[in-house]
Amino acid sequence: MDQKRLKVGWFTFSCCEDSTIIFTELLNQHYMDWKNKIEFVHAKVLQTHNRWEKMDVAFVEGAIASKDQEEKLKKIRSLATKLVAIGACACTGMPSAQRNHFDDATKEEIKVLLDAFSQADKVKTLEEVVPVDEKVQGCPMVESQFLMVLNKYLKEFKII
């Protein structure tokens, strides 16, 4: 397999992982086409040996709910030439960010749990932490938008 392949990472933060499920279902139809065009350098849902290394595109789902997640997202950004926000939580924060909108009494009620597990006071979108190159909206992500972005990068990185 000598053909140059797009180096892709798939990462998940705070969310329900619905777009990961959609992504694994897209493999049903597209894997035979993608296997010679895409190399998964990091995709925990698919493989055990994942690498923290330079990649062409990082697809990132989920909102950012802690300092540790912020640092991890910055690390991904530093390794990825392009970073794509995947799904509603990554793009808009919601519904993972629903606690941002609780009233003061409810915020006080949940504070003990936030403190106990080092969760940030506010849940953030990816764009509030790092620059984002593309967004694939939807809850779960809209498949056609994802395929459009992927194909765009396959061309941009001269894979096809």
Partner: protein, 431 residues
């Protein structure tokens, strides 16, 4: 060899639904501490739906988990309908079962082919299977075909395989066409030989780790996943109203998710529990073609949870084919308005990973006053920890790599869902 003190850590456990952590201390050749915790950042769904109209709740709580979203959706509908006194039509129940069987096929297939099978073939990933090897080539393609069959079934029944948009309180907003569902029958029928092949692989597997846990499952006449009598391995029926009390919650300092025990003792939910307690209700064709595999049950071997899931896929296929034949696509409407009074609803279904409980207190103006949700992984959490402890204590002479690999395989056997909890498992062993 680690017979005295040592530190081992695994971070980012792969091929599970979500994330968890496991920390172990081994001192003087003995396992002195074993903490299995779930690290999901809490998203406070039961808090967020307080005061919200019940009509929006099923779609909202589906977002607890992308993996089991339609299970949460169906459990939420059942809970609300039980509170406000709506009895779904038989057609609605057929469509809900089809939606759920699609989920069972797709979700179990993801777990078995993508997460578990690479362990049995010593591969890093299903995508690393050797296409020149006839068996591995076959299984790779079986994986995609099987997931696709489940995915398509859910899409046609509910409009989408994740966060299905058409199921509503009292029915479906869009009635699927009979011909669209009937068109799936050839794909479902051709999937039978694939899953029978997988059942054979798990039947031959010699992985064994027995649990002392009791089992908890819905027992019914048709293995529908959506109804039945909550029953323990002793055969005792549990009143739904009592179960929230009998499930004792423990907030562990090292876990974001609450851990539950039944009457203070570890219990197990999921496919193994269902096969142990309700296998007589499987579809006759499933019982016929999986007879040899079914002779392995009842079983205390946690790795038989994989075998049980494979058998459940076959049942979901056989039962779906029957349901599609009976489906008439009647033009049924959903209720235009919902009348409520002060009420309490309890919904219990079998999600792919086991018993799922929703309980809502509903106000006269049809909003949620209070909600409680108990997910399967919270119930299995203590059992997973006990199984890890049991295996490690008896295998302290194994290499660090072997311990890591086996701990991951034990966790995977339970098929935990950490989106209802987490995103990676950090395993830290201190010796």
């Amino acid at each position: 060899m680690h017979t005295t003190n040592a530190d081992i850590s695994i971070e980012e456990l792969s091929k599970i639904e979500g994330a968890a952590s496991c920390e172990m201390k081994i001192r003087d050749g003995k396992l002195t501490e074993c903490h299995f915790g779930i690290d999901e950042m809490r998203r406070f769904f039961t808090t967020a739906i307080r005061g919200k109209p019940v009509t929006g709740v099923p779609g909202a709580v589906a977002r607890i988990c992308g993996t089991c979203s339609n299970a949460h959706l169906l459990c939420s509908l059942k809970t609300i309908e039980s509170a406000i006194g709506i009895t779904p039509t038989s057609q609605t129940m057929i469509l809900r079962q089809l939606l759920n069987f699609g989920l069972i096929i797709r979700d179990h297939a993801l777990h078995l082919y993508v997460f578990v099978l690479p362990d049995l073939f010593n591969r890093d990933s299903i995508l690393a299977f050797d296409e020149q090897n006839p068996q591995e080539h076959q299984l790779l393609h079986d994986c995609f075909d099987m997931k696709e069959a489940g995915n398509k079934l859910s899409i046609i029944a509910g409009g989408r395989s994740v966060h299905a948009p058409t199921p509503r309180i009292g029915g479906f907003s869009k009635i699927p066409k009979k011909e669209d569902l009937a068109a799936l029958i050839p794909k479902l029928e051709s999937s039978r030989e694939k899953i029978i092949r997988l059942i054979g692989i798990f039947l031959k597997s010699d992985l064994k780790l027995e649990t002392d846990a009791s089992f908890l499952a819905l027992v019914n006449h048709d293995f529908s996943f959506l109804d039945g009598v909550l029953t323990t391995s002793g055969g005792t029926a549990i009143n739904p109203a009592d179960v929230m009390v009998r499930l004792e919650r423990t907030q562990l300092s090292y876990s974001q998710a609450s851990s539950y025990k039944l009457d203070g003792k570890i219990h197990m939910v999921g496919a193994l529990a269902r096969l142990n307690l309700n296998r007589a209700a499987l579809h006759p064709n499933t019982k016929h073609d999986a007879a040899e595999a079914l002779s392995a049950f009842p079983s205390k071997n946690i790795f038989h949870n994989n075998l049980a899931q494979a058998i459940e896929i076959l049942h979901a296929i056989d039962a779906s084919i029957d349901l599609i034949h009976h489906y008439e696509a009647l033009d049924e409407k959903i209720p235009e308005s919902i009348k409520t009074e002060e009420s309490v609803g309890i919904g219990i279904i079998e999600a792919p990973r086991g018993i799922l409980f929703h309980r809502y207190e509903i106000t006269p103006d049809a909003t949620i006053r209070k909600a409680k949700i108990i997910v399967p992984t919270g119930q299995n959490q203590a059992g997973i920890e006990a199984a890890i402890r049991d295996w490690v204590q008896n295998n302290l002479d194994k290499s660090e790599e072997e311990i890591k690999k086996n701990v991951e395989m034990i966790v995977r056997a339970y098929d935990p869902c950490m989106s209802c909890a987490s995103h990676f498992l950090k395993l830290k062993v201190e010796r």
